[in-house]
Amino acid sequence: MSVKVRIPTPLRGLTKGQGEVEGQGSSINELIENLEKSFGGLRDRLCDETGTVRRFINIYVNEEDIRFLQGTSTPLKPGDLVSIVPAIAGG
C-alpha cells in the first residue's frame, strides 16, 4: 500500500530535504508508524506524548481534513495523497 506524503518545510530536516516522500500503511496511524521507521523522529514531531496528532497540525487525505473523515483511523488506499500542513492564520 503505497501513498504519497507531502512534507512541510519544518519537517524536511528529517526527510533529507524532500518535500514529498512515499509511505506505507492502510490507515493514517499505520502510515505514521511506517514513516517513523524510514525517518526517525518524525512521529514525535507529529504526535504528542499521548500519541494524538498535535494541536497545530492538519493532516489531509486527498485534500480532505482527516477530522472530517475518521481521524487517524482514516483508511488509505494506494495512490492516495496525504498532506501534512501546519495550522495557518488568515482572514
Partner: protein
C-alpha cells in the same frame, strides 16, 4: 535599543531568530514576537504615546518593526463612538462602538495588521507580498503593496462579494479566485508559500502581522481614558484579533498604563453557520472542531481557525463567553447599528451586534455594565447581504403632487408646516 528579542514558540517556548518564520520546528506551535518589556517600561509611557502620531504608530515601541513605518501612515486611531441610542435599544447601560469601518486605507481592521506586515516584508527585503483572504485582508494587502511598490498575489474563495473583489482589483494585484472555501484556499497557499519566496502575510510573516491587531485593543483603552473596557465583544474568524486584543490589554497593564488594571471580559462573536470557536466555548472544550462554513458573514467564514485555541483561552481566562448569530440576526444587527448610530458595518459587524444582544439577554453581559463592540469592517463591501432586507426607494415625478401622493400611498406621516 533592540526591543524585539526574537521569536519564541508560544507552546514550548523555544527561541528563534526574528526571521520570516512562523511555526516551531519541534511542536508546530505558532511563533510569537518576544519583546524586552523591562526596556519598554521606562519609555512606553502615556505621555510618550500621546505625543505620537494619530495612528497605530503611536504604539510603535510595541510593534515588531526595526525602522520607521514604510506604509500605512494613517492607519488606526479610528473613532470610539459612544453609542447611546444602541445602548438604549440593547437595554444596557453603556455601549461603545470601536469604528474600524473608517480605517485607512481599506476600511477594515485588517489595515492594522497589513501596515505592520508590509513594513516588515520590506525590512526583510521581499519584493512580493501575498495572502489568503476572506476579503478584507485581500483589499488591504493589495492597497499596501501598491503603496509600498511591491508586487502582490492575493488568493480568495471564488464566491466572494463583488465589493471585496473590486476593492482588491482596483489596486492591480494578481487576484486569484480559488474554487473552494477559505480553508481550502489556505491549504493551497501553504504549498505555494513553500514553493515561492514571497512574503505571505498570514503565513511566513504571521508573527509580525498578527501583532498589528494589538493596536485595536490599545486604542480602545487609550480612548476610554487609559482604562480597559468592562466587556468587549470581538468577531472571530481565525481567532487572531480577539487573542491579540487580549494580549494588548495585558501588555498595557504590565507596563502600568491602565487605571484600574485589566479586568476585561473578552467575548467572541461568530456566525451560526461557522462558529467553531464559540461552539468550543459553549462546550468548555479546548479542542476546536473544524466546520464547513455556511454563512452570509463571509469575512468570518474560517472553519479551521488557526488561533481558535488561543481565542478560547482568552475568553476562559478573562471570564467572558461567546455567542453565535444566525443569518437573519446578522442582517438585523447591521440594520440596528446603522439605524441607531449611523454606522454602516459589514456582516462581521452584524455578527458582533447580534451576539452582544444575545449575551445581554442571557445576562452574560449585565445590563448595568459597559461594553465595547468591535466594528471591524465597512458595510459597502457586503451589500449583497443586506440589500434584500432594505426598504425600496420611492421613485416619483419632479412635482410636489407626486411627492405628496407617494407619502400618502406609503402611509408616511409628514406633517405640513402651519398654513396660516
Amino acid at each position: 535599543m533592540a526591543k524585539v528579542k526574537g521569536l519564541k514558540c508560544r507552546e514550548c517556548k523555544r527561541p528563534y531568530p526574528a526571521d520570516p518564520l512562523h511555526v516551531c520546528e519541534f511542536c508546530f506551535g505558532p511563533l510569537e514576537v518576544d519583546y524586552d518589556y523591562e526596556a519598554l517600561r521606562g519609555t512606553m509611557t502615556r505621555k510618550a504615546i500621546e505625543a505620537g502620531p494619530p495612528s497605530i504608530w503611536r504604539y510603535k515601541a510595541l510593534l515588531p518593526i526595526e525602522g520607521e513605518p514604510a506604509v500605512g501612515h494613517h492607519c488606526g486611531m479610528t473613532p470610539l463612538v459612544k453609542a447611546k441610542n444602541l445602548a438604549r435599544a440593547l437595554g444596557v447601560r453603556e455601549v461603545y462602538a470601536k469604528n474600524d469601518t473608517v480605517n485607512h486605507p481599506s476600511f477594515s481592521f485588517k489595515d492594522r495588521v497589513v501596515a505592520v506586515a508590509v513594513t516588515k516584508a520590506l525590512e526583510f527585503g521581499f519584493t512580493v507580498v501575498a495572502c489568503a483572504s476572506t476579503g478584507n485582508l485581500a483589499n488591504s494587502v493589495a492597497a499596501h503593496a501598491a503603496e509600498g511598490g511591491l508586487q502582490s498575489f492575493v488568493f480568495v474563495p471564488a464566491d466572494l462579494e463583488q465589493g471585496k473583489v473590486l476593492g482588491t482589483l482596483i489596486y492591480d494585484p494578481t487576484l486569484v479566485a480559488v474554487e473552494g472555501n477559505y480553508d481550502e484556499v489556505n491549504r493551497l497557499c501553504s504549498e505555494i508559500a513553500d514553493k515561492y519566496r514571497w512574503a505571505f502575510v498570514n503565513i511566513n510573516i504571521r508573527p509580525y502581522y498578527a501583532e498589528g491587531s494589538k493596536t485595536f485593543g490599545y486604542e480602545v483603552a487609550e480612548q476610554l481614558g487609559w482604562r480597559a473596557p468592562q466587556h468587549i465583544v470581538v468577531p472571530a474568524a481565525g481567532g487572531s484579533l480577539v487573542t491579540k486584543i487580549w494580549k494588548g490589554l495585558k501588555e498595557f497593564d504590565r507596563l502600568g498604563l491602565l487605571s484600574g488594571g485589566c479586568a476585561t471580559r473578552m467575548h467572541v462573536a461568530q456566525a451560526e453557520g461557522c462558529g467553531p470557536i464559540v461552539t468550543a466555548i459553549k462546550e468548555n472544550s479546548e479542542i476546536i472542531k473544524p466546520v464547513k462554513p455556511k454563512t452570509i458573514a463571509k469575512s468570518l467564514a474560517i472553519g479551521n481557525p488557526a488561533d481558535g485555541y488561543y481565542a478560547y483561552k482568552a475568553v476562559k481566562e478573562s471570564g467572558g463567553h461567546g455567542e453565535h448569530a444566525s443569518d437573519e440576526e446578522i442582517v438585523e444587527g447591521m440594520k440596528l447599528l446603522a439605524s441607531t448610530e449611523g454606522i454602516f458595518a459589514e456582516t462581521a459587524g452584524g455578527v458582533t451586534v447580534a451576539a452582544a444582544k444575545r449575551l445581554i439577554e442571557q445576562g452574560r453581559i449585565p445590563k448595568d455594565e459597559s461594553l465595547v463592540l468591535c466594528i471591524t469592517g465597512n458595510g459597502l463591501k457586503t451589500q449583497e447581504a443586506v440589500a434584500p432586507a432594505l426598504k425600496v426607494q420611492l421613485q416619483i415625478k419632479p412635482t410636489l403632487r407626486s411627492f405628496d401622493e407617494a407619502m400618502a400611498s406609503h402611509g408616511i406621516d409628514v406633517t405640513p408646516r402651519n398654513a396660516n
